[in-house]
Symmetry: C2
Subunit: 250 residues, 2 copies
DNA sequence: ATGAACGTTGCACATTCTGCAACGCACGCA
DNA sequence: TGCGTGCGTTGCAGAATGTGCAACGTTCAT
């Protein structure tokens, strides 16, 4: 829509392929050298491009800084919230959003069940890290060495008979979660409550948050809850897309 | 130099602070809404900006993709080489450049000593990982858990009486290197050869390569070699700056 | 129903960008 | 030493391009 800007921006992917000199840039843009020069100068002033020692142009530090700053100022919660609401709208159960922070997994958002029976949880509260679906999802993405180190350090409280009993079992479960791309907690924290969860990933593919749907046995059986898995995964993927800077579907 | 492009690029840092709507962008640019709209549209077509579900604009995925692609197409060796030559010019000793790759540390560049006595090493050859200064620098940057895991797996050959004897000693040495930001190998690989090295870091601060200066005792004592440390560190920093997308000094 | 806030469009004006041609400079070759 | 080529750079005149305005269409909230 704006020719000048359009041309200037076309330089960026071109330089991403590798350093290039003025003539090459002008040629590939199909413009006169003097025009390319002025565009490069403007990009240079903004730090998006710089000149290395052999005089050729390269993408500059500012680009990395911008990308980083943008990620830091991104709020998963803000982006996820409407999606969580929509999910709750469809299935009616409690929906949680959680992140990993300083050795803990914390709930950072929650949409209450529309059924009369609710489960206890609080935003900001640490999650039962050895059993919760969201915790498994977040830890499963750690590099293997860190996963092992962390697993060794944890306590394994027997909330119920189905709680994760020890480090070995936990690591095995994490490997499974990593493999399949989703996680469950079937009565591992409270006998009568089941959860299904899926990971939310950033632009680099790393897991940045996890979400889950929880419901007590009295409302739906574990089997029925599992039928929601595709929906949960689709929601998580929609959030991932939007979080990582792709236009939302539709 | 180019007003239109200048304005368009000014939008990026603005959006890095957080999502903004058309009016806010127009205001902060000091232009009419319709102008801001056209600029945003152009940025949008290039994927640098997109519109999230609440209609506000945000930095887009393309920005991350560009930054990533640029990093992948960057060649440390190409950038480092002139600096290594200059260093060799000043001190005369052998200069090495190395990276970590698949459980090994490999030499990827070398400038030969100008003294008659040379040391044996080859580009592409794996480095003695438990003793070489460059290896210590590269491994010291690993997260603690991975450092431990790797140290346990390694063999500790006794090249000389001063070789690193075991995992515990190696981890201690890595902690020291991490702390001080430089490393040495004083006769750990071959009795008569000493090295001083410094790390080369990327835009995110992670160590991407390491360089060292090596010289045999018959040419300079370890003490004299250590006097080169400031020069080595300055060279490594100059390479880091250029590699991470900042204009080279002067 | 009514108004405000916001994004969007078409248009006439002139600001801003463009390509040209000429210059300066460094490098390599004779 | 001198010439030639390749590259980045500058000033300029013409015109294409971007600009702000004013008016319209929507969507919300009151």
């Amino acid at each position: 829509m704006s020719q000048t800007v359009d041309r200037a921006l076309s330089i960026l992917p071109l330089l991403a392929e590798g350093p290039a000199d003025l003539g090459q840039v002008a040629d590939r843009l199909g413009v006169h050298k003097s025009t390319a020069l002025r565009l490069l100068r403007t990009l240079h002033e903004h730090g998006l491009v710089f000149r290395q020692s052999d005089q050729r142009y390269r993408l500059g530090a500012r680009l990395f800084a911008l990308a980083q700053e943008a990620v830091e100022n991104l709020d998963v919660r803000e982006i996820a919230h409407p999606h969580l609401l929509a999910l709750n709208e469809k299935c009616g159960h409690t929906v949680h959003l959680a992140v990993y922070e300083e050795q803990e997994v914390l709930y950072i958002d929650k949409v209450e069940s529309r059924y009369p029976v609710r489960m206890y949880s609080r935003i900001g509260k640490p999650v039962a890290i050895t059993v919760a679906a969201v915790a498994k999802l977040l830890l499963a993405d750690f590099p293997e060495a860190e996963r092992r180190a962390l697993a060794e350090k944890l306590d394994y409280p027997s909330y119920t008979s189905r709680s994760t009993p020890n480090a070995a079992a936990f690591l095995k479960e994490l490997a499974l979660v990593r493999e399949q791309g989703w996680a469950t907690d079937l009565g591992g924290h409270e006998e009568s409550i089941n959860c299904v969860g899926a990971p939310i990933r950033g632009a680099d593919g790393r897991v940045v948050a996890a979400m889950s749907v929880s419901a007590p046995n009295v409302v739906v059986t574990a089997e029925e809850l599992l039928k929601l898995l595709p929906l949960v995964r689709r929601t998580a993927e929609a959030i991932s897309r939007e979080y990582s800077g792709h236009a939302p579907e539709k």
